[in-house]
């Protein structure tokens, strides 16, 4: 992997910049984890890579998400999407006025996110880590990235957790716009919202202080 430029490193994978047949691409490589049993390590890395590639190829049909270009056992070559990370935008908007103006200029931003999640849930995909850190914002569009924890699921609970993660990370106003668009785009939204309210009321989630990892 040394011939590629490392652009990001997460807990589970390393991201490299590359190009594939002339297309601007990134490579997501699930590297060996020395700490665990070799056979468990292989199983987790291979299964997750395969699953993520499959979900990405389905998801990128209905929302802006990286298209899969090439797949290996522990590497996915995918289309590189440009844009600014939403969590960075939220942080600068909280810190200074210029960022705020930027956010306001893109007033449909949160509605667009609602539309995208509605589309994903509509085809039975849950993102699994639906936070601002995994949303890229370009001039007129938003894209969803990092499907590493995504799953094919029609479980109301899983979908409600996607909603919850976003709700925790944005303001009430932003959430209202996001929610309205989600409701409009997904006919099963009422069930999901009901479950979301239930999760917020119940044991562990209610007991747990509600703070997203973006704040400190």
């Amino acid at each position: 992997m040394q011939k590629y430029r490392k652009v990001n490193e997460g807990a589970e994978a390393v991201i490299y910049a590359s190009s594939f047949l002339g297309i601007d691409a990134i490579i997501k490589h699930r590297a060996v984890k020395d700490y665990r049993e070799e056979s468990l390590d292989k199983m987790l890395r291979y299964q997750r890579t395969k699953k993520e590639a499959k979900i990405l190829s389905v998801a990128s049909e209905v929302v802006n998400a990286p298209k899969v270009l090439f797949l290996e056992k522990d590497r996915i070559f995918m289309q590189r999407i440009r844009g600014e990370n939403l969590s960075a935008i939220l942080q600068t908007s909280a810190a200074n006025g210029a960022g705020k103006a930027n956010l306001q200029a893109n007033e449909n931003l949160f509605a667009k996110i609602g539309v995208a999640l509605a589309a994903l849930h509509g085809i039975g995909i849950v993102h699994g880590d639906f936070t601002p850190a995994n949303i890229l914002v370009d001039k007129n569009s938003i894209s969803l990235i990092d499907f590493g924890l995504a799953d094919m699921s029609q479980m109301i609970e899983d979908k409600a957790v996607d909603m919850l993660l976003m709700k925790r990370a944005i303001s009430n106003e932003q959430y209202a716009a996001f929610l309205a668009a989600y409701k409009k785009g997904y006919n099963k939204a009422p069930e999901i919202i009901k479950r979301l309210e239930k999760i917020e009321r119940r044991g562990r989630y209610q007991e747990r202080t509600l703070t997203s990892t973006n704040e400190k």
Partner: protein
């Protein structure tokens, strides 16, 4: 400043005395565990029988009189109600009788804080693994300063999972270390692996491993059971390290003495330039000194609790306990 700390949340009754950050005495007695678990009222009886002599022994070893202490701290929770009450009553009696300030302490935070203070760390990520608890925590300042739970078991604690398996396999107490012993040299068998973000569950793999007892060799099952559960903890911990960018990692709680878990976390820490330390066994076992350490921090911060506020709370979560002092 001299603090007396009293711990009585589960099967161990303890009295510890510290002066500044130095431990003068740390006495404890453990209720003898049978193979069937514990009956709360019997344990409470045991605690009430031994509490006075334990405090006396601790004072004698510290070469001080009860009048010499500056405050008394006790475990408010989490734990077994009947047991917590014994420590609470002892602390309130001392506070009233000798006019000493009283401090209710969170048990989980005490396990973390004694390790943090000993290692002189200031912003660690913590993996706290015990019988009933398995949590990944870190300090956060909003809405008040506390150990925020970033991830945790969504069903049972890892210690309980190990104990439960050990009983099914007819191993001897202490079960966790019996599993570790029998696991040596085992071969790996794939088992259910369940991590969601930074949360994890253990009942699925417990059922799977227990059912396998009839079919496979015990060392292989024990090894795979332990290895898979530890890998789940490690994956969640590594994710938290990345997300939060912490440079210090503490392992504490009853399961922290496991060598294999230490080895795995050390490897993760090394690969990310993180400083890793595991709490020493004397502080992983329930003890009074850790309660005293938090009591001292509360005293130095000029906290004040009226006797009527010296309550117990069986479900006192770590993240409900305000850390008013600077780390």
């Amino acid at each position: 400043m001299i603090i007396l700390g009293i711990e009585s949340s589960a099967h161990t009754i303890g009295a510890g005395i510290i002066e500044g950050r130095k431990i003068l005495s740390n006495k404890r007695k453990m209720y003898p565990i049978s193979n069937k678990g514990i009956i709360p009222s019997k344990v409470a009886e045991f605690h009430s029988k031994h509490i006075s002599s334990l405090i006396r022994d601790a004072l004698a070893e510290s070469k001080i009189n009860i009048e010499d202490i500056d405050a008394v701290a006790y475990t408010k929770g989490p734990g077994i109600g009947a047991c917590l009450r014994i420590g609470q009553i002892a602390a309130k009696t001392i506070s009233r009788q000798f006019g000493k300030p009283i401090f209710p302490v969170n048990h989980s935070v005490a396990h973390i804080e004694i390790a943090r203070v000993m290692f002189n760390m200031h912003d660690p990520l913590v993996l706290y693994v015990s019988g009933g608890n398995s949590q990944i925590l870190g300090i956060i300042n909003k809405p008040f300063r506390h150990y925020h739970v970033y991830g945790e078991t969504l069903d049972i604690g890892i210690g309980n999972a190990l104990d439960n398996f050990a009983r099914s396999a007819n191993l001897l107490p202490a079960w966790g270390s019996s599993v570790a012993k029998v696991a040596e040299g085992g071969k790996y068998i794939a088992m259910p692996y369940n991590v969601k973000g930074m949360d994890f569950t253990f009942t699925g793999i417990l059922k799977y491993a227990t059912d396998l007892l009839a079919k496979e060799k015990l060392p292989d099952i024990a090894y795979s059971f332990q290895e898979t559960m530890f890998s789940m903890l490690c994956e969640a911990t590594e994710r938290a390290l990345f997300l939060l960018g912490k440079k210090e990692l503490i392992l504490c709680g009853g399961v922290a003495q496991n060598k294999r878990l230490n080895e795995m976390l050390q490897s993760i820490a090394d690969s990310h330039g993180v400083k890793f330390r595991a709490a020493s066994d004397q502080f992983n076992a329930d003890n009074g000194a850790m309660i005293a350490v938090v009591g001292l921090e509360m005293l130095e911060n000029n906290d004040h609790y009226a006797l009527s506020e010296a309550t117990i709370d069986q479900k006192f979560r770590a993240d409900k306990f305000e850390i008013k002092w600077q780390l």
